[in-house]
Chain length 181, copies 2
DNA sequence: TCCAGCATGTAACGAGTTACATGATTCG
DNA sequence: CGAATCATGTAACTCGTTACATGCTGGA
């Protein structure tokens, strides 16, 4: 019954490399944000609980002369827990919530112009996102293939790009089929 | 700042046709569940609040001899609110959470067998889902095109099918590229 | 010196899930 | 007559977001 996926993600990230709460937030922003997000207000309390359970431990590092940075590292118990999550716990399919398609559902045939407008706007948003993803891939993986230890990062980007391309293709196909009915 | 998307979805559904909380739950299960879900424990209190705001009104219908069924219908104020949501409020891109790709990210290059296992399992799940969607389309839209007033339903099914096909294609492509690195 | 960014936390609230609780109806 | 389904609600909890709150660092 217990889920709490975020704690396992934090644990997995810390296992790769000792990190602070702030560092973790950056990873969400730069690497895995396409498939999971968390605010720092959720990250810090979760780290606290993980330390209480003995899955991670922390040491204070001083930045500059005063600023305290709490760097976490994984414990043997923590490693067991990540492995259990990775290999023993089934991952159910992601449950999506997308209000865009619901708006289409509600507008229906009585307003073709509105359908077209909403599809076009969604197309614009997905194009922007896709361009942004292409640009990032260009910077990080100029060879268009994974490097040394960054296969995970490459797969996530590739998966996100694939998702956007497919969504755009569907929107274009649907636009082309207008007027419906 | 205020969002509460669920209330607009309930409102939109009730606008199409007077419905009870139970009926609404069935629509989530049968029509729009691929892109939004809600339990009855969330639906009933939301309906109550909508009635308090005067966006919907209810009448009691008797089923059999005793069972009370509360059928809601939309008010003029409610219609205004749906329209405002549909046409004036921007719909941001859906934010996805998918632990499957994160597991791939964490496993990385050190265990090719595990990567293959997890991809194959995910492939199995998406194939099942896709077959299920095909079967439903066959039953509801045997002509493979939208009918009379069911364009919204058709678009949702079509979008869900497209999503599953694309995900499967990506999984197959990634499996074919193994071993990585 | 000022400002963006580094760094960490808590509080309040809203959204969503699971469990608890009850009773009627319909069909085999 | 029994089981699945129809029908409605509340309680307790977890998850997630926004806002509040504070202070340091590094570079222009």
């Amino acid at each position: 019954m217990k889920k709490n996926t975020l704690q396992y993600i934090l644990l997995g990230l810390i296992e790769q490399k000792g990190m602070s709460g702030y560092d973790l937030k950056e990873v969400f922003k730069n690497e895995i944000g396409e498939f999971w997000q968390a605010e720092h207000s959720q990250i810090y309390p979760t780290l606290k609980k993980l330390e209480e359970k003995g899955w991670i431990s922390s040491t204070i590092t001083i930045v500059g002369t005063k600023l305290e940075k709490k760097v976490y590292s994984i414990t043997p118990l923590g490693k067991e827990q990540v492995n259990d999550w990775l290999f023993n716990q089934p991952n159910e399919l992601a449950s999506f919530k997308d209000e865009f398609i619901l708006k289409l559902y509600f507008i229906k045939e009585n307003d073709q112009q509105a359908i077209q407008d909403i599809l076009t706007e969604q197309q614009r948003l997905h194009r922007l996102k896709l361009e942004h993803l292409y640009a990032r891939r260009e910077v990080i993986f100029p060879e268009k293939k994974a490097l040394n230890g960054d296969i995970g990062h490459y797969l996530i980007l590739d998966h996100a790009i694939n998702r956007e391309q497919c969504t755009l293709t569907w929107i274009e196909r649907t636009l082309a089929s207008l007027p419906l009915e």
